[in-house]
Amino acid sequence: MTLPGWKELPEGAVVREPGNTVTISTGEWRVFKPVIIDEKCTRCRLCWIYCPDGTIIEVDDPNAPLGKRYEVDYEHCKGCGICWKECPVNAIEWVPEER
């Protein structure tokens, strides 16, 4: 990969694409992954609240109970396990990653 030369780089090392770390995958960090068992999920939202990386996604779904469900952004989830620990109804399983 050729990196841009000094003429092409923005002045003062500013980053003009806010939030572009989203293009970096951190999913490879995981040894275990959280798997949400939708049938057990009470939509209490605590996994979404506590996830440091914002990788629990709240999805509107008119067919789901209370109109929403939760998904894991596996591209970015680092596998810390906070959601799994904090889920009050054990609706998140902690599954070893197989690659």
Binding site: L3, P4, W6, L9, P10, E11, G12, A13, P18
Partner: protein, 396 residues
């Protein structure tokens, strides 16, 4: 012609006046001798409504520079004054301001550095900042200081530059001495430096990140960008000076030559002592010595080509430095630049004599500099130049 009002001002007050006339938006200042009266005057302007700016009463010079960086990063025209320990304390942030490419402007009433403690004037404070990526003007009169602050904003804010700038003047000898200064109407000043933000700013409507990490893949390119901006600043400073002269009738050049036309030897001086050197040149000329003077006005970026051209026909040049670079082959900060100008082709170089003077505001008399002129003449006639700095006015 634009309207001017003649006022009696110290250089401190002239610098504060220039900041007022530049309609600065944010001032963050901390008192330090000998720049304090400028900080007081700015406060007075804000206090009585002559200047519509936020005055941040910072708790240190480090915070003064930091607050200016923050202010400039929002798009404000930001200004401070300082000296000596204060400038050194700021220096960490000034390097960063340059790297972030923010056009803050500072007035510096140059003063010695401790220890021993000295509140008196010399250039030990500004000397170490020569590599920080700052535009540095040396000025020799209150009028030049006033004009240079306004020019400094012009150069610093130019899109080809975007670097911080310092207008450096002598502590006490200039900072506290009253001279006549023709001040320009603010409206006219703002025609010369309109408020136009071209640098990177923090704006919620267009969020950017300023001050990122430059890893080995990138750091080098960003440092080189600063160097290019510095190189551009030579031309931009020259243009700014010419435009200033056109609008306001006063121009200085990047260097000022005095009786250089037929000079065989020359002195390079900067700051207040350029005035003393000018008188000394006249006296030495009366005694038949063909000596000329170059007043260095822009130290960073260094006006290499201008200086080389001015020294073309000179066989010996004496550089009158105002700070000591301890342990270096020559003690002066400027003499090293003069020597290195010729590094790629020494055959073009005049012989260079290095002088230290006015250290800790040790008095320098006209006769001292007449003696320098005579000595340069002897060097030109074959006397050996000492392979070290010659200390003027030092007791053995």
């Amino acid at each position: 012609m634009v309207k001017m009002v003649r006022k009696a001002l110290t250089t401190n007050y002239a610098v504060a006046h220039a900041a007022k006339d530049s309609d600065v938006d944010v001032i963050a200042a901390y008192p330090i001798t000998p720049s304090t009266p400028a900080a007081e005057k700015l406060a007075e302007y804000v206090a009585n409504g002559e200047l519509d700016a936020e005055y941040v009463h910072v708790e240190s010079e480090h915070s003064a520079a930091s607050a200016l960086v923050g202010a400039s990063a929002v798009g404000a025209r930001a200004f401070t004054v300082t000296a000596s320990q204060g400038l050194i304390y700021m220096s960490e942030v000034l390097y960063i301001a340059s790297g972030l490419r923010l056009p803050i402007v500072l007035g510096v009433a140059s003063r010695a550095l401790s220890a021993p403690l000295s509140i008196w004037g010399d250039m030990h404070d500004i000397a170490p900042l020569r590599d920080a990526g700052l535009i540095i003007y040396f000025v020799s009169s209150a009028q030049e200081a006033y004009d240079s602050v306004i020019q400094a904003f012009k150069v610093a804010e130019d899109p080809r530059v975007h670097l911080p700038a310092i207008v450096d003047y002598d502590g006490f000898i200039m900072s506290h001495v009253t001279e006549p200064v023709d001040v320009i109407d603010r409206e006219d000043v703002l025609k010369y430096i309109p408020k136009k933000v071209t640098w990177n700013t923090l704006n919620p409507k267009q969020p950017i990140s300023i001050g990122t990490v430059g890893d080995p893949d990138y750091y080098y390119e960003f440092k080189y960008q600063q160097q290019v901006a510095m190189e551009n600043a030579v031309k931009v400073a020259e243009e700014a000076d010419k435009e200033f002269e056109k609008m306001f009738g006063r121009g200085y050049g990047l260097i000022e030559e005095y009786r250089m036309d037929d000079a065989e030897v020359a002195m390079i001086a900067y700051g207040a002592h350029a005035g003393t050197a000018r008188v000394a040149v006249d006296k030495a000329r009366e005694e038949g010595i063909k000596v000329g003077l170059i007043k260095l006005r822009l130290w960073r970026p260094f006006p290499t080509e201008h200086l080389m051209k001015a020294l073309e026909n000179v066989s010996v040049v004496g550089v009158l430095d105002r700070a000591m670079a301890l342990g270096a082959p020559r003690q002066g900060p400027v003499v090293k630049d003069v020597i290195s100008m010729y590094a790629s082709d020494p055959s073009k170089a005049p012989k260079v004599a290095s002088y230290a003077l006015a250290i800790g505001q040790r008095d320098v008399k006209i006769e001292d500099l007449v003696a320098v002129a005579k000595q340069l003449d002897e060097f030109a006639k074959g006397k050996e130049i000492p392979n070290k700095t010659i200390c003027i006015g030092l007791r053995e």
